[in-house]
Amino acid sequence: MQSHQNEKAIITVSNLHKKFGDFVAVTDVSFEVKKGEIFGILGPNGAGKTTTLEIIETLQKQTSGNVIVDGIDTLKHPWDVKRTIGVQLQSAGFYPELTLVDILQLFAALYDVEVSPMKLLEEVELQDKAKSYVNKLSGGQRQRFSIATTLVNTPKIIFLDEPTTGLDPQARIHLWDMIKKINQKGVTIVLTTHYLEEAEELCERVAIMDKGKIVALDSPEALIKKLLKTGFKKHIEVKQADLEDVFIQLTGRHLHEA
């Protein structure tokens, strides 16, 4: 994996706070995403991953803090930010009565750009499904289609919120390859996941979130090394430790959902 750590930051998040009434969903989150990297946000359910992502995407407004995307302040020029990025929501749907080609054409019009729907579908290997409806796709195909919609405006950055949740291991590996391919074309990718091997496989750096805070931020290898330095030993010594250990160490073993 080629390093992007000497590149400029394409996203800068500073002191982000988000409250829903009295409930604090995100608190004092700051991080940078380097141009060209795949950046992962890890965390248990309710950690604040989606909230953080949606604030960057201008879909939600922060309570306080700043977000700069490709040099644009998200609060001042949300329209310019929207034009620069591609967004996959955690569980978004599409018009059930429209074909994949129709939906891509609709999105092209919303972005005011010209696209070749077939080429986009080829990129996610769905050219055979051009005339199908979204509801008729399998989970993996639907996620791939969702990624195709993020590419309509040839974005500099795409955001993928749990792109592989609910997919079988094969479909997941397939999607990883697709994400790597898109990244190799120079698109910066920010993704969230619960799967630690996914983060290890894809991400140059990861931020681990818990209870609205970032509790660690580094490359997966560095995080593992750091843990080992504290004298951590895995019970079964197959591998001394993996990212899962880091994760559990940082966020606790208990189920976070009440």
Binding site: E57, T58, L59, I72, H77, W79, D80, K82, R83, I85, V87, L89, S91, A92, G93, F94, Y95, P96, E97, L98, D102, I103, Q105, L106, F107, A109, L110, Y111, D112, T149, N153
Partner: protein, 364 residues
């Protein structure tokens, strides 16, 4: 950069694709097209039945008798022949409207006694039967007496006019019914679905303004509504002989009214779609708005037949304004100018709803 998003192209695309989506949607077809068509078919058939009264003649009667002959030939009377007993029980049940007994008077050859029995179960028909038979008896008397130039003559002058049928009343109501259905059922359930499935949220991740989305969706409904009105009118005119007083001009006036009506009704749709979070919370709201209007707004029967205390409410409902405006054009053969008072009333409702919708609309 700093390019304002081109909302016109986005608007056209939303209109086009929302329209396309709706044409593939079952509920659009059901509420917008099938329902009104079934209704006008039923109303069309009701309107074609001629009002007739039924008179029973006992089988023991002399069928060659002049009075009986004349009764049988009368276009307004249907006759049934059966035994006296059966006829008596039928008249009690209100199945027939009168029972005619003609008996020859003792001795004289050309002298008869006619007795008509009517039923209290349908006083209106009883009165009609009485008048008809009385007329026939008088006529027969004149004929039998050999009078060819009666001293008092009686002539009826018929002014040519259109026979008013139920379809002429009901079809305008059906236009209103289908527009209100499209604007409310279609928009509320449609938007709630798109909200819940996060279709709208995904679109908000693009440079699309919220109003562009609503205008596009509304425009697509408008196109559907225009097709609905055309369909209702075409079926009405060609199948059920619905009457357009000024032909194509009336047709165009109705199209303009339909557009106006739909835009006003859409205000209700948006208001409720913005307020409701799911189908369950939308249902009671929809029923509250649509049911009273379907019943009270002169859709199925005239507002004037309602009790007087309901009238002030009924005549001011948005659908009543719309129906009245349409009937000014169709039944009364008026022009768009004559509908202005109703359109003003409708506008007040429409504007009120758009203001409320703007204040309460929730996207999530």
């Amino acid at each position: 950069m700093k390019r304002k998003p081109n909302q016109f192209r986005a608007f056209l695309a939303i209109t086009y694709y929302a329209f396309k989506a709706q044409t593939r949607n079952k509920s659009t077809f059901f509420f917008g097209f099938l329902f009104p068509l079934v209704f006008i078919s039923i109303f069309g058939l009701i309107g074609n039945a001629n009002p007739k009264v039924t008179i029973g003649i006992p089988s023991s009667s002399n069928m060659q008798n002049q009075v009986i002959q004349n009764v049988k030939q009368s276009p307004a009377i249907t006759t049934v022949v059966s035994d006296n007993q059966t006829l008596l029980s039928q008249i009690k049940q209100g199945k027939i409207d009168g029972l005619l007994n003609v008996t020859s008077n003792q001795g004289a050859n050309t002298s008869y006694a006619t007795t008509l029995t009517t039923s209290a179960s349908n006083p209106q028909n009883a009165a009609v039967v009485q008048l008809l038979v009385k007329g026939i008896v008088d006529q027969s008397n004149v004929e039998i007496s050999g009078i060819t130039t009666p001293q008092i003559s009686f002539t009826i002058t018929k002014i040519t006019g259109r026979q008013s049928r139920y379809i002429d009343f009901a079809l305008p109501g059906m236009i209103g019914f289908s527009l209100l259905s499209t604007a409310i059922f279609g928009v509320v359930f449609g938007l709630i679905f798109l909200k819940k499935q996060l279709v709208i949220k995904r679109m908000f991740a693009t440079p699309m303004l919220p109003l562009t989305f609503l205008f596009g969706q509304g425009m697509s409904r408008l196109i559907i509504a225009i097709f609905q009105t055309i369909l209702i009118l075409v079926v009405g005119v060609y199948v059920f002989h619905f009457y357009l007083p000024h032909g194509f001009e009336t047709f165009m006036d109705l199209m303009i009214l339909s557009v106006f009506g739909l835009v006003a009704f859409l205000g209700f749709g948006y208001f409720m779609a913005g307020l409701a979070n799911d189908e369950n919370s939308a249902n009671p709201m929809i029923n509250l708005v649509t049911l009273p209007q379907f019943l009270l707004s002169g859709t199925f029967f005239p507002t004037s037949s309602l009790p007087s205390w309901v009238q002030p409410i009924a005549t001011n409902l948005p659908l009543s304004y719309f129906n009245e405006a349409v009937r000014k054009i169709t039944t009364e053969g008026g022009s768009l100018h004559d509908t202005i008072p109703y359109l003003l009333g409708l506008s007040v409702w429409g504007i009120l709803m758009y203001v409320l919708a703007a204040k309460t609309f929730k996207w999530e």
